[in-house]
């Protein structure tokens, strides 16, 4: 896909996630944010905390990759690698209904400072917006990002950003089922 088209789509998706957090989550009382799902699953705060652990890992790597990356004067066409497609599709809430257990380092505690979790989620999404804007002028397929749960595997920055955002989408939907 043409890079600017892709990055604009992703920017719009992050904007929607931010609007959900700003309009809804940050205005909810702690009782609602911390209430387990009706099936005993994660609360809204746990869903967001899970996402924050991914942001903690990926966002600094994205920023570092972009600082070190080459300027893009042409317009790149972004192609997913085989591994990238697998990672993205597995998290796509439209395609994969398969459930995964959260991996070590990404399992959220039950008792959380709910407001701080929401605030951190908002900070990270604002940071992600800036990353997407910087990426417009960089050759993002040359930037390689190790996968958090299997660091010997690498995605290019385009795939890694898509993976992170679709993973956000998946768990925001999960969080919204608690509303």
């Amino acid at each position: 896909m043409e890079k600017l088209l892709l990055l604009n789509q992703l920017e719009n998706q992050v904007e929607r996630h931010l609007q959900q957090a700003i309009q809804k989550y940050q205005n909810l009382p702690d009782e609602i944010l911390l209430k387990p799902s009706s099936s005993g699953g994660w609360s809204i705060a746990q869903c967001l905390e899970h996402l924050n652990t991914y942001g903690d890992y990926y966002l600094p790597l994205f920023e570092k990759g972009l600082v070190e990356g080459q300027d893009d004067l042409s317009i790149e066409t972004i192609k997913s690698t085989w591994l990238g497609k697998l990672a993205i599709d597995s998290m796509n809430p439209e395609k994969g209904k398969k459930k995964f257990n959260a991996m070590k380092g990404h399992i959220p505690e039950v008792s959380l400072d709910a407001k701080a979790v929401v605030a951190e989620f908002i900070n990270q999404q604002e940071q992600l917006l800036q990353i997407l804007r910087t990426a417009k002028n960089k050759r993002i397929q040359q930037i390689k990002i190790p996968i958090s749960i299997a660091k010997f595997l690498k995605l290019h920055l385009g795939d890694a950003i898509r993976f992170l955002i679709i993973h956000n989408e998946r768990h925001i939907r999960q969080a919204n089922r608690n509303l």
Partner: protein
């Protein structure tokens, strides 16, 4: 999106509130303003750059803030629908701005080049009167804000903010409101609970 006619209406309401112009003078002034959209967290004016434009806000919320060498921020003011905006001292003095001016939500804004406004003023003294009166009203706003900062409790500052913009809690991340009021972001939810809207 709002149509051009509604842009003009909103602009006219604000201008009339400052200084009424004849229809011709108003049109000559309004013609200088062109619409654009700004995304969330898009910086309209950078610290160190000369402010080239006068802005008029159709929709969305923006803030002017100061950032020190340690990255600590002070949110000086917000601008809302129906306000003129921009870093006015930098614009008029043509000196580098000490502040950032950024969109905090997706925004629709009109902007006019200050050079063109100055050219219009040369042939049209009424525009200069409008500008002067507009600046006096901005100055009053700054003085009121100083009183708020020195005399008001956090709760009173928060109430004042809600009075100006009742939906602000659903439009921008609370950390910016906490910063404007001058409290730590982690104390903001206590403040909301104490004020009970």
């Amino acid at each position: 999106m709002l149509s051009d006619a509604s842009h003009k209406l909103l602009f006219k309401q604000t201008v009339d509130g400052i200084y009424s112009l004849s229809e011709d003078d108003f049109d000559a002034f309004f013609e200088l303003f062109k619409p654009f959209s700004a995304k969330r967290k898009e910086i309209l004016t950078y610290n160190g750059a000369v402010e080239k434009n006068l802005y008029f806000i159709i929709d969305g919320l923006q803030r002017m803030y100061f950032s020190d060498e340690n990255g600590r921020e002070a949110t000086i003011l917000f601008s809302y629908s129906g306000n003129f905006g921009g870093v006015l001292d930098s614009m008029m003095n043509k000196t580098p701005s000490k502040f950032y001016y950024e969109a905090l939500s997706p925004s629709i804004i009109l902007r006019a080049s200050f050079t063109q406004i100055e050219q219009l003023i040369e042939t049209n003294p009424k525009i200069e009167i409008l500008l002067r009166k507009g600046l006096i009203s901005a100055f009053s706003g700054v003085l009121e804000r100083l009183v708020e900062l020195q005399c008001f409790s956090s709760e009173e500052k928060f109430r004042q903010l809600l009075k100006r913009s009742p939906h602000i809690l659903q439009i921008v991340p609370h950390k910016y409101l906490a910063n404007y009021i001058g409290i730590d972001a982690s104390n903001f939810s206590k403040l909301i609970n104490s004020v009970q809207i």
